[in-house]
Amino acid sequence: MVKGIEKYGIPVVHVATVVPISLTIGANRIVPGVGIPYPMANPTMGEADSYKIRVSMVKKALKALTTPVDGQTVFED
């Protein structure tokens, strides 16, 4: 799906927990997810902290969309 969308020229940031899979399928901008059942939060930390994580993950994803990349890039912390 990532490639299908990106071939129109729209940048796609792939938030995925198992980064090696994302690299194999060919995503160019990758932000590691927190956990497989909850890529955008950590519910074990309680609602408030989990939400803070989500806001920072979305910020990271937006930053990835504004960053020029030459090839596959993983945006770590």
Binding site: G4, I5, E6, P11
Partner: protein
């Protein structure tokens, strides 16, 4: 007394520990054969013994690749096996990646022959087919009976250091290795025969399969994020409660497009998850853990980006054929273009 010792890796599901709710199971070792190892042991005969089975939950492995590998290697090494086998994983993606990762590590660090089995579209197959012998399996464990004799035959050859023939003869996925051999007919004759068959529309086998380069160049970054229109796409199976478009919980054949206008967050009353490949309790309680609408709205209000597109796009990414996923991408991309979307956050579980 068996002549050869095997250690077998399986996930929490095949060990009978549990399904998705037990996918964070930490590595453990059990003496003897467990689950599919019992059938494998029978297929191998009395010269072979499955000395131990190492088990790990798929999520634990996927989220702790290095730590899980180190722990498992220590467990496996103690038994000094002649051959190590993982899976087969069929079309289970996380399991396939785990099988490939642990096989590669065992081969490199313990120096013993390794073997696994997967369906060709398992993401683990593409990741490891160049490094490992991966037996070709059907897409579900219903095919176990067919696969076990193939695995047993390769294990015997590995243990007894016999020559392993090509992928077609032995039933494993092509590794992209070329081996020289003499044929009866020279190249020009084979080429003419292939051409004649091709012209007649008959099946023929090429000497050299061309690799498929399936990559897309990175799109240019968004220039002005403060004016950008952002859309969310997910393979995490988040759908409106009631699943109006009947999107499948695995092996999806369709995707859905749903309106977020006027919503501040994904309410668990309006949305849920139908994904059949992860423990859904967190996403059902709070769908924002997959589609982060609450955080997007806060950042939209704060001016961190221009605006959120009114629709999000969703499907289920477990067991879904790569051909279907590619088609969804093309169809969704077209919609995003028509909606003047400048950037996409695609969340996968």
């Amino acid at each position: 007394m068996a002549k050869y010792k095997i250690v077998h890796y399986i996930n929490q599901f095949f060990a009978g520990i549990g399904g998705e709710e037990k996918a964070d199971w930490e590595p453990e070792v059990r003496e003897g054969a467990v689950g599919p190892g019992l059938g494998l042991s029978a297929a191998l005969g009395s010269d072979y013994e499955i000395a131990a089975t190492v088990i790990c939950g798929d999520n634990y492995f996927g989220e702790n690749l290095d730590k899980a590998t180190d722990t498992l290697i220590a467990m496996i090494g103690k038994y000094k096996p002649d051959v190590f086998i993982a899976g087969p994983a069929f079309n289970a993606g996380r399991y396939g990646v785990a099988c490939g990762t642990i096989c590669k590590a065992v081969e490199e660090r313990l120096g013993i022959p390794v073997l696994t089995g997967m369906y060709e579209e398992n993401p683990g197959a593409d990741m490891f087919r160049k490094d490992l012998i991966i037996v070709r399996t059907p897409n579900s464990s219903a095919g176990m009976r067919k696969v076990l004799p193939v695995l047993a035959s390769l294990i015997r050859k590995m243990a007894e250091k016999q020559e392993i023939l090509g992928p077609d003869e032995e039933g494993y996925l092509e590794r992209g290795i070329r081996i020289n051999y003499f044929t009866e007919e020279r190249g020009s004759e084979r080429a003419i025969q292939m051409l004649v068959k091709k012209l007649k529309g008959e099946p023929f086998k090429t000497d050299l399969i061309m690799p498929k380069f399936d990559r897309v160049d990175p799109a240019a970054p968004i220039k002005d994020i403060r004016k950008a229109r952002i859309a969310v796409v997910t393979s995490g199976g988040i759908i409106p409660t009631g699943n109006p478009d009947h999107i499948e919980s695995s092996n999806a054949t369709k995707w859905g497009k749903y309106d977020l206008t006027g919503m501040d967050r994904m309410s668990p009353d309006d949305f849920t998850s139908i994904h059949g490949g992860y423990d859904r309790q967190f996403a059902i309680a709070n769908p924002n853990v997959v589609v982060p609408l609450d955080a997007l709205r806060e950042l939209e209000k704060a001016g961190e980006f221009g605006e959120l597109a009114n629709y999000f796009y969703t499907t289920t990414g477990t067991g879904t054929a790569t051909a279907s996923a590619a088609k969804f991408g093309t169809e969704i991309g077209k919609q995003l273009i028509d909606d003047h979307v400048d950037g996409v956050i695609l969340v996968s579980t």
